[in-house]
């Protein structure tokens, strides 16, 4: 229903808000399905960062959606045929939670039964994400880095001489500044907690990077562009993003140099489980740094640009 409302409305401001609500509802749906890590990431990214980034991009474009100029019948036909094909394919899928489904056979019993012994951490999601399927997570990190690269190439971070520290676009807001000053250390501390606690509870590099970046975005929104750029200069950010990917790839290459397969963490220490711990720690650190710098970079690119108009 929210999706239908989002399509029917032409006020893009309201649509962005509806997207935020949609993300929050999806996060609760994931919680209902017992997928806590995914719900966490969805809530942090979808309901938090994406709303802010979409609002910043609304500032660059128009607020009201332009009416379609062509007859949409052909597009409707294409979407209808594709949708019908997808629904037909889904009808053949096994029921949710069916133990004899193919996805629950093959390697999954091995992950569940031997995950704790082999990788040594209670959170199986992090174990699968960072260790068993570490190569896929490396691909995700490179995708995030590429998105940051694309934004840099297309928009670039403008260096405006009007951006001085202490000048805020919304003026001198006493209440907001006091509350943000108190909340900001807590937000950053929570981001660090999520980063390093991903082994035991819900968390990990992606959520932590997003939460950490959100703290800086909040500081930027309340205290002004100039102060935020004085704290984290844009020149650092693309180096930090590259550093994140480099840490991740570096762990893999180190394993290659020692003589084991790529991203085999047991090459990092004498005891294989100790090596797994170390490997997951380094890899999640790389992911966290990369996600943090890319999110902040995209925000700088969008937010700094609007000032020119």
């Amino acid at each position: 229903m929210i999706a239908i409302a989002a399509i029917m409305l032409t006020d893009l401001f309201a649509v962005v808000m509806l997207f935020g609500v949609y993300s929050l509802l999806t996060a609760t749906l994931f919680m209902d399905l017992d997928a806590v890590d995914v719900a966490f990431t969805e809530a942090a990214v979808g309901a938090g960062v994406t709303t802010v980034l979409m609002l910043s991009s609304l500032h660059l474009t128009k607020r009201w959606e332009a009416l379609p100029r062509r007859n949409p019948l052909l597009a409707l036909l294409a979407v209808g045929v594709t949708g019908a094909a997808l629904v037909y394919a889904v009808l053949d899928a096994p029921l949710l939670g069916d133990p004899s489904a193919p996805v629950h056979q093959h390697v999954t019993p091995r992950f569940i039964e031997q995950g704790l012994a082999e990788v040594g951490m209670p959170n199986l999601v992090t174990a699968v994400l960072a260790s068993y399927r570490g190569y896929d997570t490396f691909g995700e990190t490179v995708v995030i880095f590429t998105a940051g690269l694309a934004v840099l190439l297309l928009l670039g971070i403008q260096d405006d001489p009007r951006l001085r520290p202490g000048v805020s676009a919304i003026g001198d807001q006493l209440v907001l500044r006091s509350v943000v000053k108190v909340l900001l250390p807590l937000i950053l501390l929570y981001g660090l907690y999520v980063q390093f606690h991903g082994d035991f509870g819900a968390g990990g590099g992606f959520q932590a990077g997003v939460i950490f970046a959100t703290g800086f975005v909040l500081y930027d929104l309340v205290f002004g562009e100039g102060s935020a750029r004085a704290v984290v200069p844009p020149g650092w950010l693309h180096r930090l993003a590259a550093l994140g990917v480099l840490i991740y790839g570096g762990v893999g290459v180190y394993s290659l140099l020692v003589g084991r397969p790529f991203l085999d963490y047991s090459a990092l220490a004498d005891d294989p489980v100790h090596g797994q711990h170390l490997g997951v720690l380094l890899v999640e650190l790389g992911v966290g740094i990369a996600v943090f710098s890319v999110v902040l970079l995209i925000f700088y690119a969008f937010a700094g640009r609007g000032r020119r108009q």
């Binding site: 919304i170 003026g171 807001q173 209440v175 907001l176 509350v179 108190v182 909340l183």
Partner: protein
């Protein structure tokens, strides 16, 4: 003691739910943006903490209770700030609160869009 705690907790939960419902009705039916923001602010700042206190009274002293207490403090700190920020942003955008003109008997004039 636990009986009293149970009753108090139930009352808190009941009041919190009633305030949530009235907040929702206010959000939909109020004529002006600022009254709507006030209604939703009541939901956030009073109803959610009451619900949390009602839940906390039923828990024993544990890490979960400490987490609920932290969530309570965070909600009490951030939700009024968010309401304040929304109202300030609307004022910055140019809307003014709907005012009642006391001379007219039916309705009133206002300079803001509902």
């Amino acid at each position: 003691m636990t009986v009293i705690l149970g009753w108090v907790s139930g009352l808190c939960l009941l009041f919190g739910s009633v305030l949530c419902i009235t907040g929702g009705i206010g959000l939909l039916r109020m004529p002006d943006f600022f009254s709507r923001v006030h209604a939703s602010g009541v939901t956030e700042t009073l109803a959610a903490p009451l619900l949390l206190i009602g839940l906390a009274l039923q828990m024993e002293w544990s890490l979960d209770l400490a987490k609920v207490a932290m969530i309570l403090i965070l909600i009490l700190a951030t939700n009024p700030t968010a309401t304040h920020a929304m109202a300030k942003a609307t004022l910055h955008g140019g809307q003014r609160p709907l005012e009642f003109d006391k001379d007219k008997s039916t309705g009133g004039e206002g300079s803001s869009k509902p």
